[in-house]
């Protein structure tokens, strides 16, 4: 059985393995009918499982270690990528990657959180948890894009900003706050895509834009279900309930009018077919960019202010 299989994926994988096994004997026996029946069954099973995921299962899919990350999307969607490094102040944060790339012929600046795939690369990427220099690097790239009139695409996928001693010393809060302010008045279009985990301020720190999109199996909230559980229930055991209570899926956020659009994933999740996911994302980005590039900078900024101004629910 493949590694990294989530509990609710197991029945599907078992059936798929069985079909695989049968195929080996197909040349000797005429079992194509049986295979077809099983294949139909797998499809049905997949649809019933993936259309009925709990919020916690969505969180697990968003964190699936085989999901495509920012650099994967860049390689699959764009050409002529030129990676740019450093915040020109302290260092290069490897938890955030950035650079110019071309989506077909459209020049873009792409900035995203970057996770690793194994222990070594995860340590290098700090598990996708930026330090202040990561947010400052991102801001530097946005200013560069603004100066040369190139639209910005940001990709969010982080368990949070790094809660370390040095991060505090170098002003984690200031770095995030500065980005929120500067992104709200950047003169070029910004498209934000949540490609995995959108955990709190660490995600929002590169998450202010004109269009906010979420891949189907991702989450975005003020806190992770685990931390929420530990604070409100005073135990790590209530993460499922916390995920339900936080209403943190793409469908939830669309209903809350916090995001603009959900981007469908291949059946079973983005990790099942990287290229298909990248193709879908690319066509959505091109369509969105095409619309945004028609808007004058002043209008873009005033609409952005209005967009975030409307977020929130209260009584008076």
């Amino acid at each position: 059985m493949a590694k990294n299989v989530l509990d609710f994926e197991k029945p599907i994988i078992e059936l798929e393995n069985k079909i695989e096994e049968m195929r080996k004997h197909e040349t000797m026996l005429d079992i194509s009918k049986e295979i077809k029946t099983l294949e139909d069954k797998v499809l049905q099973l997949k649809e019933s499982i993936y259309n009925n995921l709990t919020r916690w299962q969505r969180v697990q899919l968003a964190r699936h270690p085989e999901r495509p990350y920012t650099l994967d999307y860049i390689y699959m969607m764009t050409t002529d990528f030129i990676e740019l490094h450093g915040d020109r102040n302290y260092k290069d944060d490897h938890a955030i990657v950035s650079g110019f790339a071309k989506l077909d012929n459209q020049k873009v600046m792409i900035i995203g959180h970057q996770k690793g795939r194994d222990t070594k690369t995860n340590l290098y990427r700090n598990f996708g948890m930026p330090n202040p220099e990561g947010y400052r690097k991102a801001l530097r790239m946005m200013k560069l894009a603004e100066k040369f009139n190139v639209p910005v695409i940001t990709m969010l996928d982080t368990p949070g900003a790094y809660p370390g001693l040095e991060a505090e010393q170098r002003g984690q809060a200031e770095a995030i706050a500065r980005n929120l302010l500067e992104m709200s008045r950047l003169k070029v279009p910004i498209i934000v895509v949540i490609i995995g985990e959108g955990a709190s301020g660490g995600a929002l720190g590169i998450g202010v834009g004109d269009r906010i999109l979420m891949l189907q199996n991702t989450w975005y909230s003020v806190i992770s279900p685990e931390s929420c559980s530990s604070i409100l229930w005073r135990s790590w055991e209530y993460k499922e309930q916390a995920a339900e209570a936080l209403k943190l899926t793409a469908e939830d956020l669309l209903e809350q009018k916090i995001i603009d659009r959900i981007i469908p994933e291949p059946l079973g999740g983005a990790h099942k077919d990287h290229q298909q996911m990248a193709n879908t994302l690319k066509s959505v980005l091109l369509e969105e960019l095409n619309n945004l590039l028609k808007i004058k900078p002043e209008k873009l900024i005033s609409s952005r202010l209005e967009k975030f101004g409307k977020m929130g629910v209260f009584e008076e």
């Binding site: 900003a161 790094y162 809660p163 370390g164 001693l165 991060a167 505090e168 010393q169 170098r170 002003g171 984690q172 809060a173 200031e174 995030i176 706050a177 500065r178 929120l180 302010l181 500067e182 709200s184 008045r185 709190s200 301020g201 929002l204 720190g205 998450g207 202010v208 975005y220 909230s221 003020v222 806190i223 929420c228 530990s230 604070i231 409100l232 229930w233 005073r234 209530y238 309930q241 916390a242 209570a245 936080l246 209403k247 943190l248 939830d252 956020l253 809350q256 916090i258 952005r304 202010l305 975030f308 101004g309 977020m311 929130g312 629910v313 209260f314 009584e315 008076e316």
Partner: protein, 283 residues
Amino acid sequence: MGWFTRKKENISKESKKSDLPDGLWQKCEDCGEIIYNKQLELNLWCCPKCNHHFRIGSKEYISFLFDEGTFKEIDKKMKSADPLEFVDTKKYSERIKSTIKKTGLNDAVKTGTGKINNKKVSFACMDFGFIGGSMGSVVGEKISRAIDVAYEEKIPMIIISQSGGARMMEGAYSLMQMAKTSARLARLADAKIPYISVLTDPTTGGVTASFAMLGDVIIAEPKALIGFAGPRVIKQTIGRDLPEGFQRSEFLLENGFIDFIVTRKQMKEKLSLLIDYLHNNHK
């Protein structure tokens, strides 16, 4: 999210601050001095012996910052609507109701306009007593509207922060208040209208990572806890105790993140002087 305490072995206990209890006198948690309430109030809730700043709320700050009778509150009635119908060990709607009853406040921030040495300002002051001063939709909206008042009337903005961070029970709505308030401050900054941020104990999480850190000038009361991640989370991450004074005002001053430390007694005069330096130079 600092208003809950979480127990964890191998880590030394936090010093716990309490809100002002009722009674005739109080004990200073720093030096143990017994102080009569009346005396404490006359001393702006600072210990006469060691100058420890007791935690106070918006009502108290308004009482000594503004020229008498000039403060006019706005959006007084705004209340949380529990958009997620959030339930943990308790319903959020119940939590809100009981906190309103207990504190006499409708949410964790009070906003309005008033005069400081005859200079009109737009003002917001948070209350830690209301669910840890956490920021949900009401706090975000009230602060945004106060910034709009500053923008429209071309008067300086002053915000006193005191918060455990974003309010979990409003999920992503809470998170978005960070972007909303910061965007309003961007517009204020473009109009060259001054914004002074005052940090008090504690200012952490999403409040620090948005408007609290965006002042043209940022000042803090002595020894206030100021940070992004709470000390407990950092301790758990690094697996050891934190150095003395870590994330306190003096630490932030040393690291270049605040302009100066202000005692409560100097606060009004310093704010007045800063307004004088920053405001109305573009005429």
